[in-house]
Every structure is written in structure tokens, then in C-alpha cells.
Symmetry: C2
Subunit: 235 residues, 2 copies
DNA sequence: ATTTTTAAGTGTTATTTTAACAATTAAAAA
DNA sequence: TTTTTAATTGTTAAAATAACACTTAAAAAT
């Protein structure tokens, strides 16, 4: 089925930067590459785009292979297309980033893929130009999270305000005033307070909240101001 | 040079959404496609990625072919990868958007490529999924312009505040108070007032300004608030 | 039983930012 | 000299933001 007969065809890959939050710090999921070149080295989860699937489907497939999770937040990040990025053969890669609830991730899968979670500040050396991909993903997640409520995708169904604040502080590498933070967050109208508490973090316990899915979908595209001074923090 | 021997290779293309501003409205530059399929129909300027060039280089090449302009603002937009987007053969396309000073565009080139400028509100039917690309570009340019001073790329070296305001009003499809607009714009510190005036628009004439390149590069990544209520306007 | 400890939860205020609003002026044309 | 037209400029009320500290719930320690 080659109709544009004089054109050269290339390999096309997808790579996923998979973020998770363990309650303390933001991490990404890496695997040990199981084929040459760079076999045995740390790598993003990726794969080649197949003839019968869209690029988005390829990203979803690859994400699914490693996490076995449905309905994960997955967004196209950037297409990396320099000629020498894969030394073996010219390959263009479309990168995606995913935000998953780390609690839903089954540890068994890590064994199958020799995968592991790495704190963003201690990412090992990665193959090819994947370091650049991770940097782009970090930048994008900040950018997006400054404007849209995507970070909830990293939390379990039920979460507390202190947990949410730690997440924001982590992503923006800053510390925030808890009074102002709670006002901003609650002012979005995205949260519903539950009656039970999380007692693991303190004696008093912190009330659980969950997302108001309705408001979430409606307001997702609106700019949400949870971050103070976003311009000073973003770059 | 096929080393990942079992993988399928695909055609990879780039497509450029080229924006220009004529002082009144925002336009995009389209060409009449000169090969099959869809020969003779309106299309974005595009081309296949060649083996010896990066994807970015391909986009630049294609942009250069049509505009003969150097140093144009060009940014990767999104990669379109559905399986059936090109009916003749599976082709993934990386879209880019460019912002050019329409005055620098030589009309002669339009003849060579049977190209023409179309107001954004009167874009003709486009081939394949290019309508989607244009929509994505419109969305992105708004998003980006709400936060970063990219719209200056559409203006000539010297421009007046009323011209700039018309451009912003056009991009955001709104009208703004000129007192507040000028305050916001001048508060960015990006503009330098010149001594001469543009007399074409009014009897009194409006002072020319030009970009302070230093501040521009420094502040480019900062959030710039020129748009009032960006959240209500963006989507 | 009482006290201590620890993190959760909550309000006020000064400052800054934003948005709404109209009169004056420069310069050509009449 | 007057008229016309668009450019230029400032004030103020309202809203948003950022800075700041005490009270409370509940377990742990005494």
C-alpha cells in the first residue's frame, strides 16, 4: 500500500512519561529496556506505532501494557524528530504524558517489565533523548497544572486538603500558606467534603474530599487559580 | 538502513498553519494542492519529512519554500495520527503554526504556489483533517497569546498601540477599553515609544512603538496579562 | 483522669490588581 | 477659523490577593 511512491518511510514510536504521586513526592515510572540497542538501561515505556492503530491508540496501548489501567489521563506532549535520536535507525517519537493514581498501580507489573518509580529529582540516565522528554513533561505538567485542575488525576478518589497541598507544593517546588491554599481550592467549587477522616497523617485526622465530577468536567478548560504568583514559579 | 527489522515504516509529513495580520483581521495562508489526491483543492502548506532532516527542519523548509522568510516564529502544534487521515496511504502529520509579518510576504510567491490569504472566519473546505489542524492552531494561538507576548510576531517592526489593540481584539474576538489596554501593554515594559507617527489611520496620527528585544527575550516565558478575564475568553 | 503533643482547621486586613468610566488634544480637512 | 476624527491620558470603586496566628480535635503520654 505504498502510493506516494517516491517518499521515504520512517519508524514512528510513542513514549510515555508516566507520573505518580506517593503522598510525598512526584515520581515517574521507568522500565528496563529489553531489546537492543540500550538493552538493560532505564527507559520510558514506549513502542512502535503499528499500521492498524492511530498514534493515540499506540500511546494508550503502551500505557495499558505497563499499567493495566483504563481511563487514565493521557495527553500528547511533543514530537521528537531529530535525525540521530535513535542511533540504530531513524525513528521519530511522539511523546505523551500520563497521570495515574499510584495506588491503583499493581506492583506485579513492575516485576514483569523490570519497572520502577523514580523521584523526579533522581531520574537515572535515560536512553536517547528521553531526558529531554522528561524535562518537557515536567515543564508541561507545571504549565497545565497552573491553569487547569489536572493534578487531581494523581490522587486517589478520596484525598485530604493537606495531601492536595503537598502535591501542589511538590509540583511547583514551593511552599504555600495553608489558609490561602484551602480558600483557593474550595473556591473552585470542585471539591465535596466527606464525613470521614484520614487518620493516618495526624492525631486529629483530616477530612476527606472528593472531586465533584460534574464541576470538574465543566470547569476543566477554565483557568483555575490555585497557584499564587504563577508567573514567578513556572519557568 | 532498516535495523528494527520487524517494524512497519510510515510516511511522516509536516503541515504549517501560517498566520498573518493585515491590520484588520487575522488570516491564514493556504495553497492549492498540486498533486493527487485532492489536487487543486485548498490545503495547508506541507510536505514529507525527508530522511536527512529533522521534523523541525522539515517544517522550516516547507515554511521557507512558501514564504522565503528567515527567522519566522514557528512552533510545533500537534501530531495528527489517525490511520485514515490520508486516504491514499497512512501518513502521520506533525503540524506547526507560524506567525509572520504579512508585509514581508512577497505576493509573487502566491502566484507560484497558487496561494492565498483567507480570513480565519472564511477558511474554505480543506483536505483531509486540516480543518481540525486549523482549529487546534486557533485555540493554541489564543492560549499562548493570553500568556505570552507572541502576537508581536505578526506585526511589522514599527506599530502603533491602536494597531496592537485591533490585533488583540481580533485574536480574542472581543473589544477592549483602550485606556486599560494601553496601561497593560506599557506596564509589560516590552515597548519603546518612537518619535514618529503613523499618519495613515487618523488625522492626528498615532505614535509608533517597537519591541524592546532585550525585555522581549527575557520576559517571553513569563505570563503576561494583556487580556482581561482570560478565562472567559479562551474557550 | 489530666495534660501534652501534633497537625487540622479557620478569619481578618492591608495591599495590590483590575475594571469601569470621559475629557482633552493633535492634526488634517472643511 | 472652525470642524472633524481618532489618539492620548487619569481617577476611583470593586475585587483579588497575600500576609499573618490562634483555636480545636484527637491521640499519646503522664
Amino acid at each position: 500500500m505504498q502510493k506516494y511512491s517516491k517518499q521515504t518511510r520512517l519508524l514512528l514510536a510513542v513514549d510515555c512519561i508516566i507520573f505518580g504521586f506517593d503522598g510525598e513526592i512526584l515520581k515517574i515510572l521507568l522500565i528496563k529496556r529489553d531489546f537492543e540497542p540500550e538493552k538493560g538501561n532505564w527507559s520510558l515505556m514506549g513502542g512502535f506505532v503499528q499500521p492498524n492503530e492511530s498514534v493515540d491508540q499506540a500511546a494508550n496501548r503502551v500505557l495499558m501494557q505497563l499499567t493495566n489501567l483504563q481511563g487514565v489521563y493521557l495527553e500528547q506532549l511533543y514530537t521528537f524528530g531529530s535525525t540521530k535520536r535513535d542511533p540504530l535507525e531513524r525513528t521519530v517519537s511522539v511523546s505523551y504524558f500520563a497521570l495515574i493514581d499510584i495506588n491503583k498501580y499493581e506492583t506485579q507489573l513492575s516485576k514483569d517489565y523490570h519497572a520502577d518509580w523514580f523521584p523526579l529529582k533522581r531520574v537515572p540516565k535515560l536512553i536517547f533523548d528521553q531526558q529531554e522528554m522528561v524535562e518537557a513533561a515536567k515543564k508541561r505538567i507545571r504549565y497545565k497544572a497552573a491553569l487547569h485542575p489536572i493534578l487531581f488525576e494523581l490522587l486517589p478518589e478520596k484525598f485530604t486538603l493537606p495531601q492536595l497541598q503537598v502535591l501542589y507544593e511538590n509540583v511547583f517546588n514551593t511552599s504555600m500558606d495553608k489558609r490561602n491554599f484551602s480558600k483557593r481550592v474550595l473556591a473552585t467549587g470542585l471539591l465535596i467534603k466527606l464525613e470521614d477522616k484520614d487518620k493516618t497523617g495526624s492525631k486529629r485526622g483530616a477530612f476527606y474530599y472528593h472531586l465533584n465530577k460534574q464541576s470538574y468536567y465543566i470547569k476543566f478548560q477554565s483557568f483555575i487559580n490555585i497557584i499564587p504568583n504563577p508567573d514567578t514559579l513556572l519557568f
